[in-house]
C-alpha cells in the first residue's frame, strides 16, 4: 500500500518538475541561441522573459486546433500523443540520485515510516534495453503524423525521420553496448554505481575515463547518434523548414503541435540523462568529497546570488532593482540548503546529476546555434559508412580488452 | 635445412607477381621481377651445389604428404643428387641467360607481362620436374611444362597457325602422357610406391616382362615430350612461339625432360634389354629422319627445330646403348649450343625485321658481326669439331654405340655429317653472300648479344670442362675409353666433310643446290614436305577419329540415347504434372486453406495415435 502512495508522490513530483523543465528548456534554448547570435532573446514577458514559457503555453492551449480536411482523423490525433507518451515513459526509469529516507512520523499513537525510497520511479533491471525499446517506438509518432497529415511535405518528413531514426539506432545501440561490457549490468542504477570511486584517488572512475578502454569514443558516437535520434540540428531533416516547410508537423497546430515540441525536448532530456548515467558516472561527483566536492554547489549558488545582489544594487534596467535581489535571495537560500548537513547527502547527487545533464543540454543547444544542416544523402552515408563501422570497431576493441583484462 | 623448395619457389613468386599485377607494372619492374627471380634461384642452386658438394652428398627433403590412402603415400619430396645437380645448373643457368635475352627480344611485343609470367611458371614446373623425388611429382612438373609450352607456343594467339601449333603440341603430348601415366600405374601396382629410391632398389628383383612394359610405356611418354618418332611432329610447328621460347623450352630444357626421365629410370631400363634396344633404334631413326628433313628446309627456325629433333635422337641413342652419362653429357652441350643457335637465329630474325626465310637473308656478316661469330661457334660445336662442346659428347655417344653395334655407329656418323651440312648451309645462307632481304639489318642490343657471348663461351669450353661421365661416374658405369683413332677420325671427318660440302654448294657454286634438287625431283619433294608425315597422320588418325566421334558418339550416343532418356523423362513428368496441375489453382489463399486442413488432419491423426480422444 505504502509503495503505491510513495510512488504516487514521486510521480507527481517528477511530473511537475519535468514538465516545468520542458517548458523552461525552450526559454533556455531561445536565450542561449540569442546570446550566441548576440541578441537579447525573449525579454518582454516577465523579468528576462522568464514568464515567456507560461505565455507560450497559454497561447498554444487557447489557440484554435485546426483539423485539416482529408486527414486520417484517428491517426492524425493519435500521433502526437503517442510521441509524448513514448517520450515520458523513458523518463520514468531514469534514476537521478541515491536513496532518500523520510524519518518516522508520529501522529498520535500511530507511527508512519521511516520510509526509504530510491530516487527514481521504477528500477528495471533491463532499464537500458527499455530505453532503447522506447526510443525505437518513438518513430511511430513522427511517421504516423507525417502519413496521417495527408500532405506530401509531411509524408516526406515522416519517411525521412523513420529512415533516419532506424539508421541511427544501430550506432546508438552499439555505442551503448560498449560501456555495458565494462559495467556488466543492464540496470541504469547499477551502471551508475559501477562508476563510483576514483583512480589514483582523484580521477573519477567514469566510463569515459574507465580502464581498460576509456569509452570516450562511444560517448562521442552516442552523442552524434542522439542528435539524430532527437531530430535536432544538424540532423533535423524531418522538419527542414526551407525544403519541407517544417516537415512532419506542418499540418499541426495548437496543442498537437505543442505535443511534438514537448516530445522533442523530453527526448533531449532523456538522452542527456542516459548519456550522463552511462558515460559521465551519473551522480558521482567530479572529484572526491575529501577534496571538498560538496562545497562546490553552495559556492556556485552563493556567488551567483552575490552577483545578483550586486547588479540589483546598481541596476542596468529599472526593474532589475526589484527582480535581481529576489533572485539573489533565492540563490542564497539554495546555497544554504545545499550546505545544510542533513540535506547534503540527498541533494549532492541530484546536484551533480542535474549539472551534467544541464551541461549536455547546453551542448545540444550550442550546436544548434552553431552548425548548418546535413544533406539527406550525407546523413545516411554518414550513418552507414562512417558511424556504424566506427561504433562496431569500438565495440570490438572494448570487448577484446575487457576479455583480456578481466 | 638446405631449403630446396626455394629453388622452384622463387620463379613461382615471380610468376605470381607478374601474372597478377603485371598488367599494372612497368616493363622495368616486370623485367626486374622475372629475371631476378630466375637469377636468384640459379644462385641458390649454386649455393646448394657448394653445400652438397655438387650432388656428391645427396639431399632429400620431405615437405608434406600430398596423397595418402592406406599404406600408399605420395609426399611432396625434393631430392638432389649429381644428375639433378647437372640438370638444375643447365635449367637455371640457361634459363637466366634466356630471360635476359628475352627482355631485349620481346621489348616491343604485346602481352609483355604475360610472356614473362608464363616463362617464370615454366621455370617453376621444370625445376619441380627436375627436383622431384618421386614419379608423381615428376609427372606434375611434366604436365606443368607441357602446359607452359602450350601457352607459349600459342603466345601470338591472334595467329591461327600459332594456336593450331599449340593445340597440336598439347594433343600429341597427351598421347605421350597417357603412356607415362600408364607406366606410373604399373609402378604403383608392382612396387606399391612411387618414390624413386625404393622403386630403383626393388627394380632388379622384378620380372623382366614387367620392367619391359614399364620401360616401354615410359619411353612412350619420353617420346612424346622429347619429340621422338612417331610423336615428333609437334616440335617443328612449335616454332610458331617466340624465339626465346623455342630456345629455352623447345631446345634446351623441356624437350630434354624425356632423356632426363629415362636416365633417372636407368635402374628400370638397364634390366629391360628389349626396351633399351627399342630406345636405341627409335633414337637412331629419329636422328637420321629429322636430319634429312633439315637439309631441305628454308625457314631458319625450322632447320634448327629439325636439328633439335635429330640431336634428341642422338641422346636417346646414347641412353639406348647404355651410355646414360654420355646422353646427359650431350644433353648439356646440346643445351648450350642449341640454345645459342636459336638465340642467334632470333637475333638474325630481329636483325631482318622478322624475316625467317633464309632465302631472303644473307650477307649479315657485315651487319651483325657478334651474332655471326657466336653462331659460328655454335655451328662448329654442333658439327662436332674438336675441341668444341659438341665434339666430346657426340664422340662419347658414338664410341658407346660402336661397342653396342657397329652399324648403328656408321649411321650415327653419317647423321653427324648431315647435321654439319645443314647447319652450315643455314649459316652460309644467312651470313655470307649479299643481303637479299628488305630494310636495313642491324645488330641486336646488348641485352641480346651478351647472352649469346656467354653461351658461345659455354659452347666452346663447356664440353671439355664439364666432363659429365666423370662427374656421374658414381651413378653410371664409366664407359671405358678405347683410344680407337679410327672412330675419332671418322666422327671428326664427317663433320668437316659436311661443312666443306655446304661451303661448296652455298658459297662457291650457288646454283648447284637447285640442280641437285631437280636431279632428285621426287625424292626432294618427299623430303621437302617432311615425308608427308603430317598428312599421313591426318588421314590415318585425326580424320577417322573426328568422323567416328561425329557419327557414333555425337549423333548416335549423345543425340540418340542420352537425349532420348532425358527427353523421355521430361515428357513423362510433364504428363504427370498435367494431371497434378488441376490441384494448383494458383490462388495463395486456397493453398493456405489446404495447409490449414492438412494441419488439422495431422493434429487429429496424432491425437488418435496418442489415444487422446
Amino acid at each position: 500500500m505504502e509503495f503505491l502512495v510513495i510512488t504516487a508522490v514521486k510521480l507527481a513530483l517528477i511530473l511537475f518538475v519535468f514538465m516545468t523543465t520542458l517548458a523552461y528548456l525552450q526559454w533556455v534554448e531561445r536565450k542561449v541561441i540569442a546570446h550566441v547570435q548576440v541578441r537579447m532573446g525573449p525579454s518582454r514577458v516577465g523579468p528576462h522573459g522568464l514568464l515567456q514559457p507560461l505565455a507560450d503555453v497559454i497561447k498554444l492551449i487557447t489557440k484554435e486546433g485546426v483539423l485539416p480536411p482529408h486527414v486520417n482523423k484517428f491517426f492524425y490525433l493519435a500521433a502526437p500523443f503517442f510521441a509524448v507518451f513514448m517520450a515520458l515513459i523513458a523518463i520514468s526509469i531514469i534514476p537521478f540520485g541515491t536513496s532518500v529516507t523520510i524519518p518516522a512520523i508520529h501522529i498520535g499513537s500511530s507511527t508512519y515510516g521511516p520510509y526509504t525510497t530510491m530516487m527514481e520511479l521504477a528500477n528495471v533491471n533491463v532499464g537500458i534495453l527499455l530505453i532503447l525499446a522506447v526510443s525505437s517506438m518513438g518513430v511511430y509518432g513522427i511517421a504516423l503524423a507525417g502519413w496521417a497529415s495527408n500532405n506530401k511535405y509531411s509524408l516526406i518528413g515522416g519517411l525521412r525521420s523513420s529512415a533516419q531514426m532506424i539508421s541511427y539506432e544501430l550506432p546508438l545501440s552499439l555505442a551503448i553496448a560498449a560501456p555495458l561490457l565494462g559495467a556488466g549490468t543492464l540496470s541504469l542504477r547499477g551502471i551508475a554505481d559501477t562508476q563510483a570511486g576514483y583512480m589514483l584517488g582523484f580521477i573519477p572512475r567514469w566510463a569515459i575515463f574507465q580502464l581498460p578502454f576509456p569509452q570516450i569514443f562511444s560517448f562521442i558516437i552516442f552523442m552524434i547518434a542522439a542528435f539524430a535520434e532527437t531530430n535536432r540540428i544538424p540532423f533535423d531533416l524531418p522538419e527542414a523548414e526551407n525544403e519541407l516547410v517544417a516537415g512532419f508537423h506542418v499540418e499541426y497546430s495548437s496543442m498537437t503541435f505543442a505535443a511534438f515540441f514537448m516530445a522533442e525536448y523530453a527526448n533531449m532530456v532523456t538522452v542527456c540523462s542516459v548519456a550522463t548515467l552511462l558515460f559521465l558516472g551519473g551522480w558521482q561527483p567530479l572529484w572526491p568529497e575529501a577534496y571538498g566536492s560538496d562545497f562546490i554547489a553552495p559556492l556556485i549558488f552563493f556567488i551567483s546570488g552575490a552577483i545578483c545582489i550586486y547588479h540589483g544594487l546598481n541596476p542596468a534596467r529599472p526593474f532589475d532593482r526589484i527582480t535581481l535581489p529576489v533572485f539573489g535571495v533565492i540563490f542564497f537560500g539554495l546555497a544554504g540548503l545545499m550546505a545544510f548537513p542533513p540535506t547534503v547527502p540527498i541533494l549532492m547527487p541530484i546536484f551533480w546529476f542535474l549539472a551534467k545533464v544541464g551541461f549536455l543540454l547546453f551542448v545540444f543547444i550550442w550546436i544548434r546555434a552553431t552548425l548548418p544542416r546535413f544533406r539527406y544523402d550525407q546523413l545516411m552515408g554518414f550513418a552507414w559508412k562512417f558511424l556504424f563501422p566506427v561504433a562496431l570497431a569500438n565495440l570490438l576493441i572494448t570487448g577484446f580488452l575487457v576479455a583480456l583484462f578481466e | 635445412m638446405y631449403k630446396l623448395w626455394l629453388i622452384p619457389a622463387l620463379p613461382f613468386i615471380g610468376f605470381l607477381i607478374n601474372g597478377i599485377f603485371g598488367r599494372r607494372l612497368s616493363k622495368t619492374v616486370i623485367n626486374a621481377v622475372a629475371v631476378l627471380s630466375v637469377v636468384l634461384s640459379f644462385l641458390w642452386v649454386v649455393k646448394t651445389g657448394f653445400a652438397s658438394d655438387w650432388g656428391a652428398k645427396e639431399l632429400h627433403s620431405h615437405y608434406f604428404t600430398w596423397i595418402q590412402s592406406g599404406n600408399f603415400r605420395v609426399g611432396w619430396n625434393y631430392s638432389v643428387d649429381k644428375l639433378t645437380m647437372i640438370m638444375l645448373m643447365i635449367v637455371t643457368g640457361i634459363g637466366s641467360l634466356i630471360h635476359i635475352y628475352s627482355t631485349g627480344y620481346m621489348a616491343h611485343e604485346e602481352g609483355y607481362y604475360r610472356f614473362f609470367a608464363y616463362l617464370n611458371l615454366f621455370m617453376f614446373f621444370m625445376l619441380t620436374l627436375v627436383l622431384a623425388g618421386n614419379y608423381l611429382l615428376l609427372f606434375v612438373g611434366w604436365e606443368g611444362v607441357g602446359l607452359c609450352s602450350y601457352l607459349l607456343i600459342g603466345f601470338y594467339f591472334v595467329k591461327k597457325s600459332a594456336t593450331n601449333a599449340g593445340n597440336k603440341a598439347f594433343i600429341v603430348n597427351r598421347i605421350g602422357d597417357f603412356g607415362f601415366s600408364l607406366a606410373i600405374f604399373l609402378i604403383v601396382v608392382n612396387f606399391g610406391t612411387l618414390e624413386f629410391r625404393p622403386v630403383f632398389a626393388a627394380a632388379p628383383g622384378k620380372p623382366v616382362e614387367t620392367l619391359t612394359a614399364i620401360a616401354l610405356l615410359l619411353l612412350v611418354g619420353a617420346a612424346g615430350k622429347s619429340a621422338q618418332i612417331p610423336l615428333y611432329v609437334w616440335l617443328p610447328d612449335a616454332m610458331e612461339g617466340p624465339t626465346p621460347v623455342s630456345a629455352l623450352i623447345h631446345a634446351a630444357t623441356m624437350v630434354t625432360a624425356g632423356v632426363y626421365m629415362c636416365t633417372r629410370s636407368a635402374a628400370i631400363f638397364t634390366h629391360a634389354p628389349i626396351a633399351m634396344e627399342t630406345v636405341a633404334l627409335i633414337g637412331l631413326a629419329t636422328a637420321v629422319f629429322a636430319a634429312t628433313i633439315g637439309i631441305t628446309q628454308y625457314d631458319i627456325k625450322k632447320v634448327f627445330a629439325y636439328s633439335t629433333v635429330s640431336q634428341l635422337g642422338y641422346m636417346f641413342l646414347g641412353v639406348g646403348v647404355g651410355a646414360f652419362s654420355a646422353g646427359i653429357w650431350h644433353l648439356m652441350t646440346h643445351a648450350f649450343f642449341k640454345a645459342l643457335l636459336f638465340l642467334g637465329a632470333g637475333s638474325v630474325i630481329h636483325a631482318c625485321h622478322g624475316e625467317q626465310d633464309m632465302r631472303h637473308m644473307g650477307g649479315l656478316r657485315k651487319y651483325a658481326p657478334i651474332t655471326m661469330w657466336t653462331l659460328l661457334c655454335a655451328s662448329l660445336a654442333i658439327s662436332g669439331v674438336p675441341p668444341l662442346a659438341g665434339f666430346w659428347s657426340k664422340d662419347a655417344i658414338l664410341v658407346a654405340t660402336y661397342q653396342h653395334a657397329p652399324w648403328m655407329f656408321w649411321v650415327g656418323a653419317a647423321t653427324a655429317g648431315i647435321t654439319a651440312f645443314y647447319v652450315f648451309r643455314a649459316f652460309f645462307m644467312t651470313f655470307l653472300g649479299e643481303y637479299k632481304g628488305h630494310g636495313h639489318p642491324h645488330e641486336s642490343p646488348a641485352s641480346m648479344w651478351a647472352p649469346l657471348v656467354a653461351l658461345a663461351a659455354l659452347s666452346i669450353g663447356g664440353g671439355y670442362f664439364f666432363n659429365v661421365p666423370k662427374i656421374l661416374s658414381g651413378m653410371f658405369p664409366l664407359a671405358e675409353e678405347p683410344d680407337n683413332p679410327m672412330l675419332l677420325a671418322v666422327s671428326i671427318g664427317v663433320g668437316v666433310l659436311g661443312i666443306a660440302i655446304a661451303y661448296y654448294m652455298y658459297v662457291v657454286n650457288t646454283e648447284l643446290p637447285a640442280r641437285v634438287a631437280s636431279a632428285f625431283g621426287s625424292l626432294y619433294t618427299l623430303v621437302y614436305n617432311k615425308y608427308f608425315v603430317d598428312e599421313v597422320y591426318d588421314a590415318a588418325i585425326v580424320h577417322p577419329i573426328v568422323e567416328g566421334s561425329t557419327t557414333v558418339l555425337w549423333h548416335g550416343v549423345d543425340q540418340g540415347v542420352i537425349d532420348g532418356i532425358v527427353n523421355g523423362v521430361g515428357y513423362q513428368s510433364r504428363g504427370i504434372g498435367g494431371i497434378l496441375r488441376l490441384v494448383q489453382s494458383g490462388n495463395i489463399r486456397s493453398y493456405a486453406t489446404w495447409v490449414v486442413l492438412g494441419s488439422v488432419a495431422l493434429l487429429l491423426v496424432l491425437g488418435i495415435a496418442k489415444g487422446a480422444f
Partner: protein, 112 residues
C-alpha cells in the same frame, strides 16, 4: 469454477494452459487473417502474428520447464522473422512495382 479454484488462482498465479490457449487464439486469428484478407501486406502481418503466438507458447513452456532454451527459440524465431520481413517486403515492393497491385488474388503467375 467454484470459489476455491478462484482463490487458488489468486494465490498461485496463472495456469500455463491459459497462456497456451491465448497463444492458440492468437494463432487462429492469424490463420483467419491469412485466409480472409486480400492485401498481401496484411497477410504478411498475419504471418507475423502467428509467429508471435508461437513465441508466446515457447516462453510459456520455458517457464513451465524452468529452462531458458524456450526463450532462445523465441530469440531465433525473432531473428528469422526479421530476415523474413526484410526479404518479404522487398519481394512485395518488386511485385508492386511490376504488377501495381497488392491483391494476392491477382498475383497468380504460378497458375499459367
Amino acid at each position: 469454477m467454484e470459489p476455491s479454484d478462484a482463490l487458488k488462482l489468486l494465490q498461485n498465479g496463472v495456469p500455463i494452459s491459459w497462456y497456451l490457449t491465448l497463444s492458440a487464439v492468437l494463432f487462429a486469428t492469424g490463420v483467419a487473417g491469412f485466409l480472409f484478407r486480400r492485401n498481401i501486406i496484411t497477410v504478411f502481418m498475419c504471418i507475423e502474428l502467428m509467429l508471435n503466438a508461437v513465441n508466446l507458447s515457447f516462453i510459456a513452456f520455458a517457464h513451465q520447464h524452468r529452462q531458458v532454451s524456450g526463450q532462445l527459440f523465441t530469440f531465433f524465431v525473432m531473428v528469422v522473422a526479421a530476415a523474413e520481413a526484410a526479404v518479404g517486403l522487398a519481394i512485395i515492393l518488386t511485385v508492386f512495382r511490376n504488377r501495381s497491385t497488392l491483391n494476392i488474388d491477382e498475383i497468380n503467375t504460378l497458375r499459367n
